[in-house]
Symmetry: C2
Subunit: 167 residues, 2 copies
């Protein structure tokens, strides 16, 4: 068994616009990454593919190029905002940790699994209910899929609900 | 967000007779539990319920009481051996960590989820393919089920395969 703790670990946190993934990031910074560690934190944001937006149209018509450009702009803005929010959390929780941010296009399930493989990630950290319920209908459970397909350890973090029922 | 790292964390590791869960335990000791931490490691072994053995009979006949007694004895011996193996790993990896062992009867999915809830566990650690493929046919994927149902963060650890294909 390789002693992962002794080397510099590459910890990938999959982030999205939902609060749960940023909670997962915070939890990871508090519980997995120790102060003065040599870990590298990789923040990964996956921009959902065009097919998802097309499917959301629901009329069967393709969007015009104007609408697509607007959607792309919106999508880039969201990515920037999410990454900035995540970087801020990293600075607040552990200012020493080395942070890399990546934005990739594609189905989050594929993007996450491929990036984990490509970068030789040691731990994948995710929220359990990322990507909102509408997208989840199309994409399926991202965390579920990744937990089954990546080879490295996967940490799935749920944001505790104040006092609402478990459903 | 609660600062879990600052308090004494209760980390539950679900163990079984497979090597993967013991690998998950080792990984957890190296990567999650820091030296001199106040964490308590709870080793949980779930003895599969009688129904599973009955189902394995496959003839439709119930086992006699003699056979059941032998099976129960075997099942207790397995539990003892697994717990002892796990305790040894704990001693080797981190002799300071406080360890509690529990053996519970029942479907591992229910046992794990209920124990996590009852003990107010902060992190659940599991191998991804526990309980062997035969039992998995009856029980379904334990890690998958628990990841969906427990409220605390779940760490799923896969034992790397030497160089066999991903299937």
């Amino acid at each position: 068994m390789a002693d992962v703790a002794a080397k510099e670990r590459r910890i990938l946190v999959a982030i999205d616009e939902g609060e749960e993934s940023l909670y997962a990031l915070t939890w990871c910074l508090k519980n997995v990454i120790t102060k003065n560690s040599k870990d590298t934190l990789i923040l990964l944001y996956a921009k959902p593919p065009r097919a998802v937006y097309t499917a959301l149209d629901g009329t069967g018509y393709l969007f015009s190029s104007d609408i697509m450009a607007t959607i792309n702009k919106y999508s880039n803005d969201v990515a920037d905002r999410v990454i900035e929010k995540a970087r801020k959390i990293c600075r607040e929780q552990n200012s020493d940790v080395k942070v890399e941010a990546r934005v990739e296009n594609g189905d989050p399930r594929d993007v996450i699994c491929e990036t984990v493989e490509k970068l030789g990630v040691d731990v994948l950290v995710m929220g359990s209910h990322g990507y909102g319920w509408i997208k989840r209908v199309f994409l399926g459970s991202v965390s579920n899929h990744c937990a089954q397909h990546v080879k490295c350890p996967v940490l799935i973090v749920k944001k505790p609900k104040p006092s609402v029922g478990s459903k």
